[in-house]
């Protein structure tokens, strides 16, 4: 029998439907792969093997009884940010020590409703704050990719680094992820996988540990554009429990994958051609333009004048919202408690010990920009800039642009423990320079693997769409995937 873990989600689904193998066989294959790999890759922070087997057996029984959901029997990995009832949910933080929620997030509940199987919880940057998966309390995730001729460990990107690494290394058929400034798209680009951040409001945020509520969105990381479309169709949908959930029907995104780009207008924003952009990123972008043109799209130069202000505005808005959201971790209701001489002492000691350095740094920034006397200068100014960023996109779409093509990241994956980034937090933040605009404007964005750098590492292109037009991103993303026609499988060393 072929290695079941190497199948795409779509092919696994065909195999299950055709009874070539069962969900329990597929699940066992993934559990064995995780067993063999996780010590080296550190992608999972908790493997729920017994529960996975129960879910797989129940799925097989449903199928025997003639009832099969759209994800029936498909084994998935779940980012540690999603509340999973009775199972490890700690946002990869020490402060949520031992937390087992009494509820299930809406997105994961939707996946189980559709028949999927949970393999375990995936590593991530602590509270989704990071771009390299090095801020996790559980230690860094290692990218399954290595530079040609090198044994040096590379980061998988972040914050959904565990999700991206697990999908790339065949440790799940697909994974849930979340994206506040690029946390789905950047790790997807670093691992040769496909990741989509849908429009704000498309997936319910209910039951997902909150980071920055006006920016957070859940989405899938998968091996192909089609797999991502299948997963998002199940994950998305209106939820009365999330006040910002969009009450819109969810299309069958998989049906859009082969629609092509003939007649579409693709915008190329000149502001994304940054100073010092590596030649190979520039070349990749040019190649992407050529592919879309060859497939019948019209390409048009556009301007998004406030692009350079998106990242600084983000580093006010996101920490401000985080400082409010993370106020709940106080050693009283759940997780870690460090005893103190009085209640304030207990709060301060608990939070100093429970939060890692990056989270503390962002909470300090957020508290500062919201404090008396600075609120208008920082927070209100940033929210005004955000209005302008969104307006830039609206102007482009109103002028007839259907989607926008950009690089996904300024570089390929970098090394674990990069000294430059350790010394200067802003250097790490610059990883999100192409992705963060999309969160600020609430738009959908997809990262698709499109090429490799000089060291053989994957590089991605990003497509940005109109609100709730993920379908066009899947269609255009598929054109890039098909045109690249490259194998984005890492060479197994683990």
């Amino acid at each position: 029998m072929t290695d079941l873990t190497k199948l795409t989600l779509a092919d696994a689904r065909k195999g299950l439907t055709g009874k070539s193998f069962s969900s329990i066989e597929l699940t066992e294959a993934y559990l064995a792969a995780i067993e063999g790999a996780n010590r080296k890759l550190n992608a999972y922070v908790a493997v729920t093997a017994d529960h996975a087997r129960q879910m797989a057996n129940a799925s097989d029984e449903r199928r025997m009884a003639g009832v099969a959901g759209p994800l029936e029997g498909i084994p998935l990995g779940i980012k540690d940010l999603f509340g999973t009832k009775g199972f490890h949910t700690q946002a990869a933080s020490h402060i949520l020590d031992g937390f087992r929620p009494e509820y299930e997030s809406t997105v994961t509940a939707n996946l189980w409703r559709d028949g999927a199987v949970m393999l375990g919880k995936l590593n991530m940057d602590e509270f989704a704050m990071g771009s390299s998966n090095e801020t996790s309390y559980y230690g860094p995730v290692v990218n399954p990719w290595r530079s040609e001729g090198s044994n040096a460990q590379l980061v998988p990107g972040g914050s959904s680094g565990g999700s991206a690494a697990a999908v790339s290394a065949w440790l799940c058929a697909g994974a849930t992820a979340t994206d506040t400034g690029g946390s789905i798209r950047q790790p997807a680009a670093f691992t040769g996988t496909v990741g989509i951040k849908p429009t704000y409001g498309r997936c319910s945020r209910w039951g997902i540990v909150a980071f920055a509520s006006s920016l957070d969105q859940a989405g899938p990381i998968a091996r192909t554009v089609e797999d991502a479309a299948i997963m998002l169709t199940s994950m998305a949908g209106f939820d009365a429990k999330d006040s910002t959930s969009a009450n819109l029907a969810v299309p069958d995104f998989a049906a859009a994958v082969e629609l092509g780009v003939r007649g579409l207008v693709i915008g190329i924003p000149r502001e994304y051609r940054m100073d010092g952009m590596p030649d190979e990123i520039e070349a990749l972008w040019t190649q992407g333009i050529a592919w879309l043109t060859a497939a019948g799209a019209t390409v048009r130069d556009i301007s998004l004048p406030h692009t350079k202000y998106a990242l600084p505005a983000y580093y006010i808005v996101a920490p401000a919202e985080a400082s409010s959201n993370l106020a709940r971790y106080d050693g009283v209701k759940y997780g870690l408690r460090v005893a103190g001489k009085d209640i304030t002492d207990m709060y301060e000691l608990t939070r100093a010990k429970g939060f890692g350095a990056e989270v503390r740094r962002r909470l300090m920034i957020g508290t500062y920009v919201l404090s008396a006397g600075y609120y208008d200068a920082y927070y209100v100014q940033a929210q005004k800039v955000r209005t302008l960023i969104k307006r830039d996109f609206e102007d482009a779409f109103n002028a007839g642009v259907d989607a926008i093509l950009t690089p996904a990241t300024p570089s390929a994956a970098f090394g674990v423990g990069d000294e430059d980034m350790k010394a200067d937090p802003v250097k790490m933040y610059l990883n999100d320079v192409f992705t963060v605009t999309v969160n600020m404007a609430g738009l959908p964005g997809i990262a698709v693997p499109a090429g490799k750098d000089h060291a053989g590492l994957p590089l991605g292109l990003q497509l940005i769409g109109k609100p709730f037009d993920e379908a066009t991103l899947f269609a255009a993303g598929r054109v890039i995937e098909r045109s690249a026609a490259m194998d984005f499988s890492p060479v197994k060393w683990w």
């Binding site: 031992g98 937390f99 087992r100 929620p101 009494e102 704000y200 409001g201 006006s214 920016l215 009365a240 006040s243 910002t244 969009a246 406030h306 202000y309 600084p312 505005a313 580093y315 006010i316 106080d330 050693g331 009283v332 209701k333 759940y334 997780g335 408690r337 103190g340 209640i343 304030t344 207990m346 709060y347 301060e348 000691l349 939070r351 100093a352 939060f355 503390r360 740094r361 909470l363 300090m364 920034i365 957020g366 508290t367 500062y368 404090s371 200068a377 920082y378 100014q381 940033a382 929210q383 005004k384 800039v385 209005t387 302008l388 969104k390 200067d424 937090p425 802003v426 933040y429 609430g442």
Partner: protein
């Protein structure tokens, strides 16, 4: 704008994060690096621009003002580090 050591300590108290004396300088450097980076927002002309308060054009839904959930205190306190009779237990607050 840049922060001094006293401001770092004050922000630490507001954020309820204990900052030890030997950590102040590191925080001060990092915060000033980040604040230096966001400073460029000051050059944007925002005259007449409304600050964003919702990224999608929507009004928050309303529902009938009635209880729709609850009645399971044991689940609410299930993850508490310390609880008794379905109450969260904290160090004494009032003498």
């Amino acid at each position: 704008m840049s922060v001094d050591a006293a401001t770092v300590k004050r922000i630490g108290r507001l954020a309820r994060i204990r900052i030890e004396e030997d950590e102040v300088e590191k925080y001060q450097t990092e915060l000033n690096t980040i604040l230096g980076f966001v400073e460029q927002l000051g050059e944007v002309n925002v005259a007449g621009v409304e600050p964003m308060n919702s990224v999608t054009p929507m009004t928050l839904r309303r529902r009938e003002d009635k209880v729709t959930d609850g009645g399971y205190p044991e689940q609410v306190v299930a993850n508490a580090p310390l609880s008794e009779d379905n109450f969260f237990m904290v160090p004494k607050v009032i003498e």
